[in-house]
């Protein structure tokens, strides 16, 4: 009967109910989108690193985080030195120029890259030839409406798009290493060295040897390195997520508070009727909290549905700049937080309703 009372109350004021659900759903979407973007972009960058097929990565001495690729602190001669180590099959130096967060222009030695990775798969066009040639992956080409043969201006340089490649192998944008070294005043330097070994059983052995050899440079097996692609390794992401979540909770509490306060005002007489029938304070409070819980649940579901919409929008509009995963693992968390916010927001109006004097409530017009 209590459930029917609550449901009928919600059904009877559909606009208020839907608006409340919408306003609760928006911060839920915001949180799920932020988390989904973090997870999606990290996962995509991780997959591109895996796509190289390397066993070990050596990074520059100044790296701040797992996604930090700026700086060219490794002398190019080091690549040859690494190549000469026992069990090393191939060492490939690359340099990166950051265009936007997690979007890099990668300078590479195409011959070595092809040996290490098996080469790019081309959707259109073909490999780099001239010094100003550039390859873009399908997502970047789609986002920027590019066709082979077009000129692209990046880092104040005109590039000739010669090929559109399938995404998933290291670079979203690839150019010749010597050209990028020249443009970035990094002649004789590389940013990272990717290494393959002769036998997977030797990966740790080689990595340890390289650590001894290159004391100032972080050396990681690819398994170690790709495992670092998590939120804890990205500076400021975690506090930012907490702040956005906190804002979402505050909005949720405020929306439910206002909504339920209006409910209590509008239903003062009905509360008086229930009290005249012998409804206890707990019963009245229970009705208000149950209604708020339903609004919170509705907002959570709507927020989840909207997060699919946000993913579709991101995939459609900016597939190369952003990748959003559906953060399933966060559904229970946002549901718990939203329901807690809804209950917290409904507590004061609910207690006000429970404390109402039945005679005054019955006289309310």
């Amino acid at each position: 009967m209590t459930g029917k009372l609550v449901l009928e109350n919600l059904k009877n004021r559909p606009l208020r109910s839907l608006l409340s659900i919408l306003l609760i759903g928006v911060p839920v979407t915001l949180i799920l989108t932020l988390v989904g973007l973090t997870q999606g972009m990290l996962s995509e960058a991780q997959n591109r690193q895996r796509g190289v097929g390397a066993d070990i990565i050596i990074r520059g001495s100044g790296v701040q985080s797992v996604t930090s690729f700026s700086g060219y602190t490794i002398p190019v001669g080091m690549v040859g030195k690494v190549q000469q180590q026992p069990h090393v099959k191939l060492a490939m130096g690359v340099i990166n120029h950051s265009i936007e967060p997690l979007l890099l222009l990668t300078g590479m030695d195409m011959a070595k890259f092809n040996r290490m990775t098996g080469g790019f798969t081309f959707d259109q066009g073909g490999p780099l030839a001239g010094p100003d040639d550039i390859l873009a992956d399908r997502l970047y080409a789609e986002q920027h409406h590019l066709q082979v043969g077009q000129t692209i201006k990046l880092i104040n340089h005109d590039w000739h798009l010669v090929g559109v490649i399938e995404p998933g192998k290291l670079a979203r944008l690839a150019v010749r290493m010597d050209t990028l070294q020249d443009l970035d005043a990094a002649i004789g330097k590389v940013g990272q060295i990717y290494v393959t070994v002769d036998d997977p059983a030797n990966i740790n052995l080689v990595a340890n040897e390289l650590r001894g050899l290159l004391k100032n440079y972080p050396v990681n097996t690819m398994a170690e390195y790709t495992a670092m692609y998590n939120v804890d390794q990205i500076p400021a992401i975690k506090p930012f997520t907490v702040v956005v979540s906190a804002i979402g909770v505050v909005i949720g509490i405020a929306v439910v508070w206002l909504s339920m306060y209006m409910v209590v005002l509008q239903r003062t007489r009905e509360i008086g009727i229930l009290k005249a029938l012998g409804a206890s304070k707990v019963f009245i409070l229970g009705i208000i909290l149950a209604e708020a819980t339903l609004l919170g649940a509705g907002g959570t579901i709507l927020g989840i549905v909207f997060s699919y919409g946000a993913q579709w929008l991101i995939r459609t509009l900016v597939p190369a700049s952003f990748q959003m995963a559906i953060a399933y693992g966060w559904w229970p968390r946002v549901a718990a937080v939203t329901l807690a916010a809804a209950i917290l927001g409904a507590l004061y109006p609910g207690l006000s309703a429970a404390r109402q004097d039945p005679i005054e409530a019955l006289a309310y017009e």
Partner: protein, 231 residues
């Protein structure tokens, strides 16, 4: 104080505090109501009849005096105790019907049983009462689809569904035309005669008051007279 009365009131006083001023609403009321009696309470506005109704119904505590309803001394009850008392000991019928607008007539009746902890569905004997009230075919309608007379009869059904010792009716015909007023008053008299339901009815209307066995006259917070014969 034990004369078989279902309501026994001695020197009942009620003072409302409005701002800094104490306003006496009842100034020493004595009243006995016997089980099965249909008592009308009349008096001008401000005479204290609604306050008396609210105290007997457990909606507000007395300031002083003794009020016994059934076996319970209302002066000694806490707010929670009065809330429990309202579930089964008294049933209210109001001038403005006071049905829950979002629920059907059936659910309005069911909610009273639910709050009293009796389960939502009345026993089959109650079907006879619904037929007596003439609302058995209107139970699946919401109040907005019912006439004033029908709404008041649903309110009566809700008030007696838990078989309360006392039915308290506050101007039950105040919002009805004369035809519906008569129908509602007949229902109250029928319930009193057939089921032995004790009824206390506040009214301004002398014709309505005449439906009761006796009439209590109030003025300035006091009972100034009682006419008719106690049931």
């Amino acid at each position: 104080m034990n004369n078989g009365a279902i309501i026994e009131i001695r020197d009942l006083r009620k003072v409302y505090r409005i701002g800094q001023v104490d306003v006496p609403a009842l100034r020493g009321v004595d009243l006995d109501v016997q089980p099965g009696e249909f008592l009308s309470i009349v008096g001008p506005s401000g005479s204290g009849k609604s306050t008396l109704f609210h105290i007997i119904g457990g909606l507000t505590p007395p300031t002083a005096g003794e009020v016994k309803v059934g076996s319970q001394n209302l002066a000694a009850l806490t707010d929670a105790g009065r809330t429990r008392m309202r579930r089964r000991t008294v049933g209210f019928v109001f001038q403005k019907f006071n049905l829950l607008p979002n629920l059907t007539a059936r659910d309005n009746i069911a909610v009273a049983r639910h709050i009293a902890g009796l389960g939502a569905h009345p026993d089959t004997q109650f079907d006879e009462v619904l037929r007596l009230l003439g609302i058995d075919s209107r139970l699946d309608h919401k109040p907005s689809a019912l006439s004033g007379g029908e709404q008041q009869r649903v309110a009566i059904a809700r008030a007696i569904v838990n078989r309360p010792a006392i039915l308290l009716a506050d101007e039950p015909t105040g919002n009805l035309d004369s035809e519906n007023s008569n129908a509602v008053l007949e229902v109250l008299r029928d319930l009193n005669r057939r089921l032995g339901q004790t009824v206390l009815m506040i009214t301004h209307n002398p014709e309505a008051a005449a439906f009761g066995h006796s009439t209590v006259h109030m003025r300035d917070g006091r009972i100034i007279g009682r006419t008719g014969v106690a049931g």
